[in-house]
């Protein structure tokens, strides 16, 4: 059994000159192919240092955070459509004004004393997860002239094996900032890029309380025997 590589164009090249920070951090040697052995096929089963409010970022402080309350939910699946249960999902994000609760974020938008922006949840038996949070704001970041990050939430997922480890970002539908953002644009294939955009889900909104965005995350699937990936 092995985990299949992603189709070409799914993941960004490490060296992506539009995103300037890659210039000194992308390896110059081509990566060496590592056969998948026991270490790669096993994976940690983690709960993390989780607490009762980890899935609800609006209830981690004494007061309500400022901003539009949203539910971010979906399923974690592999590319064969199988659910990934009992797996830790971690998120982090800026507040409604586009500022991170971090000493090194010097963008002069207001900090929110009632919002830290970190969350954790473990997927259910069907791979489902749900967070309640605040819609993050866009922010400028100095990568190029008039550079603004589209609103996004960072997600970290473990999957079932070391091979399935993934960190990604969830974006919001119809963001006008996509076209100028080199991090979103680093994903070569347009269809793959659009898989990072969540879907507004009216049926999942909670009346008089929160809007809802669906975001399913798909991790690598498995082959029973290693062979060449057929062309898609």
């Amino acid at each position: 059994m092995t985990y299949r590589p992603a189709a070409d164009g799914t993941h960004p090249p490490l060296l992506s000159p539009g995103y300037r920070s890659t210039a000194l951090r992308a390896p110059s040697h081509a990566p060496v192919v590592l056969p998948q052995g026991l270490t790669e096929l096993a994976g940690p089963a983690l709960a993390g240092p989780s607490g009762p409010s980890d899935h609800d970022l609006t209830r981690q402080h004494a007061g309500e955070p400022i901003g539009q309350r949203i539910i971010v939910f979906g399923r974690v699946l592999d590319s064969d459509g199988r659910a990934v249960p009992d797996s830790l999902v971690e998120i982090w994000q800026a507040n409604a004004a586009g500022r991170y609760a971090h000493a090194r974020d010097d963008w002069p938008a207001p900090l929110d004393p009632n919002f830290t922006g970190g969350g954790r949840v473990v997927t259910g038996s069907d791979g489902s997860y749900s967070f309640t949070t605040i819609k993050p704001g866009a922010y400028p970041w100095g990568n190029h002239h008039n550079a603004w990050r589209p609103a996004h939430i960072h997600l970290s997922l473990f999957g079932r094996a070391f091979t399935q480890r993934l960190v990604t970002q969830m974006y919001f539908p119809d963001d006008p900032l996509f076209a100028q953002d080199p991090i979103f644009g680093s994903v070569p294939d347009e269809k793959a890029r659009m898989r990072m955009v969540s879907t507004f889900d009216l049926d999942a909104t909670r009346a008089d309380w929160a809007l809802a965005y669906r975001f399913d995350v798909v991790l690598r699937g498995r082959d029973q025997t290693p062979f060449e990936e057929p062309h898609e």
């Binding site: 040697h29 060496v32 270490t39 969350g119 960072h154 480890r165």
Partner: protein
Amino acid sequence: MSETPSQTVGPFLSIGLTWPDGHLVVPAGSPGAVRISGTLYDGAGEPVPDGLIETWQADAEGRFDDPLFGFGRASTRPDGSWEVVTVKPGATGDGQAPHVDVSVFARGLLDRVVTRIYFPDEAAANAADPVLSALPPDRAATLVATDAGPGELRFDIRLRGEGETVFFVI
């Protein structure tokens, strides 16, 4: 179904990813505990202060029976340094020398990079290891930790340029 793409952790990963005790795979002072420490460097030789190192390994007998054992997570400090306290994994019985798998995340890395830590007191097993032995010696040397005293190993990671660590596609 098609996979979700990878994206950078950005500079503020500590809001969501760091755990106070994540670097303790075993409690410090446990029998056989070894502290692996190092610095994450960029291609200009500068330390990376906003990186995250994750480790994953077999137990001391080379087994993965307990999925709650074997994971370590350490943020890099302002000087780029990090450390994990663990035990040396046993051989996994498939011809590979004892090793720890490593993921490196950082601002500026659009996908994690994956490397391995091998152990300096396993010369014979390392020489027979199919991964290490297929590499040029100077490249293979970037994957072997160095002895730094009793219970102490050093493993620096260089993302790019001179002495660049070997990274894997898995």
